[in-house]
């Protein structure tokens, strides 16, 4: 009884090794089509941003100046910091709605505690950042260890932190000391502090995405089981990702108070869905595994520039959310089209 194709009999036939048609399907190479598909998620948001800036500069003088860069960066940085954390969590295949509550709480604490003066300022700023980190770690623990749905977990903790923020600072107000505000107005070589923070963020990302933690996060978003089988400490990685998101949200709050010079117990709510929008416009897949901060930066700036463009066009400001929505759909569409294109290429 013979059961299987003997491998010997195949080699006896002496199949031509190169001419075998099998070799055409075997050993795929990085072709042009694949390169396009790989570059597209990053190219789409940046082209979108370039188009918006081009449109804006046709209406406005001096758009391509350092001054405008400083202005736009200051206007975008809060959202960008929140979105940086959101990027990490979405890469993991999760979502973080609690950033709204954490930003609010962070501004509330900043507006009530930083003003007490002296060396305690730095101590409190560090404590607020740490609180954000810890709040995020709680999300991560609930998601990773107790296997709860991230959407529900972070919705719940958003509610909790929003409540705590109201307790700390019941209404908008508080004061932020001059000494703290002044660092934002510093400039070097015509570059403001927000741009410096942005550059630091970019440097962080270039480093972070190549660390074991960074690749572990992407791997979990791509396939949690494969990541586990490959030896990624999954619970720890998930917890770390949410903790980082919490940290970034707290930092966003600490920056936001320099812009408003006061705190607000509800101000964070604007950043929940906008951070998700910035991430998605930036080409990061909501299913996890694909994307990064490179696109999110463009996505966040797109959201800022739209508002200015609508203002410059002198049309009603309700066009801002409408345009945002349309761009969001276009961005997602562009990504899925390139995805489809890549898959077609791979199949043929």
């Amino acid at each position: 009884m013979s059961m299987q194709a003997g491998t010997e009999s195949v080699s006896e036939l002496d199949l031509p090794p190169v001419a075998a048609p099998g070799s055409a399907g075997r050993g795929p190479r990085l072709t042009g089509g694949r390169l396009v598909a790989r570059a597209a998620p990053l190219a789409v948001p940046w082209l979108m941003l370039a188009a918006l800036i081009a449109a804006y500069s046709s209406l406005q003088e001096g758009v391509l100046s350092r001054e405008q860069l400083n202005l736009w960066t200051a206007a975008t940085l809060t959202l960008l910091l929140v979105a940086a954390g959101q990027t990490i969590v979405i890469l993991l295949g999760g979502i973080d709605l609690s950033v709204g509550g954490i930003v609010s709480l962070s501004t509330a604490l900043a507006a009530t505690q930083l003003g007490t003066g002296g060396s305690r300022l730095i101590g409190w700023a560090a404590l607020i950042a740490l609180l954000g980190f810890a709040a995020g770690a709680v999300n991560g623990f609930l998601v990773a260890r107790l296997r709860l749905q991230p959407f529900i977990v972070t919705l719940a903790t958003w509610s909790i932190w929003s409540g705590v923020a109201l307790w700390v600072l019941p209404t908008e107000g508080g004061t932020v000391p001059e000494s703290y505000l002044s660092w934002v107005n510093r400039e070097a070589l015509g570059i403001g502090a927000p741009v410096a923070v942005l550059l630091a963020l970019v440097a962080f990302w270039i480093w972070f995405k190549r660390t074991p933690l960074g690749t572990g996060i992407r791997a979990i978003g791509s396939s949690e089981n494969s990541a586990y089988l490959s030896g990624v400490p999954t619970s720890l990685t998930v917890t770390a990702a949410y903790a980082l998101s919490g940290l970034f949200a707290a930092l966003a709050g600490l920056f936001l108070v320099t812009q408003t010079a006061s705190g607000s117990p509800t101000v964070g709510n604007d950043f929940i869905l906008n951070s998700v929008a910035a991430v998605v416009i930036g080409g990061t897949s909501l299913f996890g595994g694909r994307g990064g901060l490179g696109g999110t930066i463009a996505g966040a700036f797109v959201l800022t520039v739209i508002g200015d463009l609508i203002f410059a066009l002198d049309i009603s400001s309700f066009w801002t959310p409408i345009t945002t929505g349309v761009l969001l759909i276009l961005a997602v569409l562009a990504n899925s089209l390139t995805e489809l294109y890549a898959r077609r290429r791979a199949r043929r």
């Binding site: 194709a5 050993g27 791979a346």
Partner: protein, 500 residues
């Protein structure tokens, strides 16, 4: 004492005793095969070695030290690497990143250097005589066979002391299989313990110096690789003599053409396929892998939109989606290649999987008649003798062969008369294979028309009434009766390539 030794290992899952006091011994320098039917306990045993599962009793000793791996990472740090049947590759990372994943040497900044990973991968591929594959390509765009090869490279990259190959050849072409067998021998010769698990006895006998046979959670014997005949090994696996693997070829085919395909084209993967599949016939589809067979099956099932004419039972049909394929004329149904992802919802119960596509059959005025559903599922389980503890058991917890049976029963309930079986027996053990072949013939007798693709030549030869060989997107040979031989199939397989 042996270099790798398991002593009286026992593992229970709920009420099921998966391993019952199993002993196992393998030495450095040998390829040691582990075989057994589905459910014999091989997978559980491997999971214990690799730390995915912890034994209830007993211990594993590696080079004199107890090996109590608590996780795959822990096992890897003890030098145990496995090529898993359910592949462990991360789809969104490149080949090179996957090969070194979690083993990268870090730069002083604590980062992973892509350049170094790429260079190391090239060097590794060179050392292993690896089939040509671009290290920069993302794993998600590779075929199952290519992923399997990358998985092997990944396991070897860690330079393990124990290498476990678990059905690592199931998707490979004959050429790739012989490469892998050769690699296994070379690694063993270099002092590695290679544990080789496969349902393909020919491979096992070719590569293994010793064979351990598991049956029903026991280790029932060890034989020298070449010394035992296939018959003897199969008898050990089954605990009885397997009467025969392949059922008789009966003339069940009628004259009526159930499926007629004319000039089917899809890009340059299908270059005008003509086929006639008759009622009661098992038509084999052969050829080297990746010649358009998958595209043919996907086109017939409406997943790909190919150009050309398709007639069912003499009437032309338009098939634009799987739904349309199931509903068209006498109906077309497909068992897909990657059943874990495409055919089954693994976390869902057997019951839900079986009846998902046919809820209409047991609903009355929009409500599900659960009594009828239970009866249908019960019939299906009995008809195919699916081994399970309860219909509510998640499909993912069944053995590969039983999962395959669930797919088939799902197919039968759709009442489609033309069945497209794509590599149905991949990863299925001998006993189950025999049952599946018998089932196919029974279905043919009942008038089903079956299109059957297999990478295993012997299956085509012994099961199919006719064999259509596909090369480079067209049919390069149609063999019938005595003409279906290994030699002629292979000749037709390479015919297209030399012409191109």
């Amino acid at each position: 004492m042996a270099d790798l030794e398991a002593r009286a290992v026992t593992k229970r899952f709920g009420g099921v005793l998966a391993l019952d006091g199993v002993d196992f011994e393998a030495d450095a320098g040998e390829v040691h095969a582990l075989i057994g039917e589905n459910g014999a306990g091989k997978s559980t045993f491997i999971k214990i070695l690799t730390g995915a599962v912890r034994p209830d009793e007993g211990e594993v000793v590696l080079f004199g030290e107890p090996l109590a791996a608590r996780s795959p990472r822990d096992a890897a740090s003890h030098g145990v690497a496995a090529v898993f049947q359910e592949l462990s590759l991360v789809p969104d990372l490149t080949v090179a990143e996957n090969v070194w994943f979690r083993r990268e040497r870090l730069t002083p900044l604590g980062t992973i250097s892509r350049r170094r990973v790429r260079r190391d991968t090239r060097a590794l591929f060179g050392r292993l005589d690896f089939p040509p594959l671009d290290p920069d390509i993302e794993v998600r765009s590779l075929s199952v066979a290519e992923r399997q090869l990358v998985e092997v490279a990944k396991a070897v990259a860690g330079d393990p002391r124990v290498l476990i190959l678990d059905e690592a050849t199931s998707a490979l072409s004959p050429k790739e299989v012989s490469w892998l067998l050769d690699l296994a021998r070379r690694l063993a010769a270099g002092g590695m313990i290679v544990v080789y698990i496969s349902h393909r006895l020919a491979e096992v006998r070719e590569v293994a110096s010793r064979i351990t046979v598991f049956r029903n959670g026991h280790s029932v014997g060890v034989t020298e690789g070449a010394a035992a005949s296939e018959d003897e090994i199969v008898s050990m696996m089954l605990g009885r003599r397997l009467e025969r693997l392949y059922p008789d070829k009966e003339a069940t085919a009628t004259e009526a053409v159930a499926l007629r395909v004319r000039d089917l084209r899809f890009g340059h993967r299908l270059r005008g396929i003509d086929l006639d599949l008759r009622e009661g016939e098992i038509l084999g589809v052969g050829g080297l892998q990746g010649q358009g067979q998958l595209e043919l099956f996907l086109s017939l099932f409406g997943v790909l939109r190919a150009r050309g004419t398709i007639e069912l039972d003499g009437r032309p049909v338009k098939i634009s989606s799987p739904r349309a394929a199931l509903a068209a004329g006498i109906g077309l149904a497909l068992v897909p290649e990657d059943r874990q992802n495409q055919g089954l919802l693994l976390p869902k119960s057997v019951r839900e999987n079986v009846t998902l596509a046919v809820t209409k059959r047991f609903s009355r005025r929009g409500l599900l008649d659960l009594e009828r559903e239970r009866a249908l599922v019960g019939d299906a389980i009995r008809q195919l003798s699916i081994v399970l503890s309860s219909p509510e058991q998640p499909v993912g917890s069944l053995s590969g062969g039983n999962q395959q049976k669930v797919v088939i029963s799902k197919l039968l309930l759709t009442r489609a008369k033309v069945l497209l079986l794509y590599d149905l027996t991949r990863g299925v053990d001998v006993g189950t294979k025999g049952e599946i072949f018998q089932l196919m013939r029974n279905l043919a007798r009942e008038g089903y028309a079956i299109l059957f693709f297999s990478t295993d030549l012997q299956e085509l030869i012994h099961v199919a009434d006719r064999v259509a060989v596909i090369s480079d997107g067209s049919v390069t040979g149609l063999l019938e009766g005595e003409a279906i031989t290994e030699d002629r199939i292979l000749r037709a397989s390479v015919a297209g390539g030399t012409a191109a």
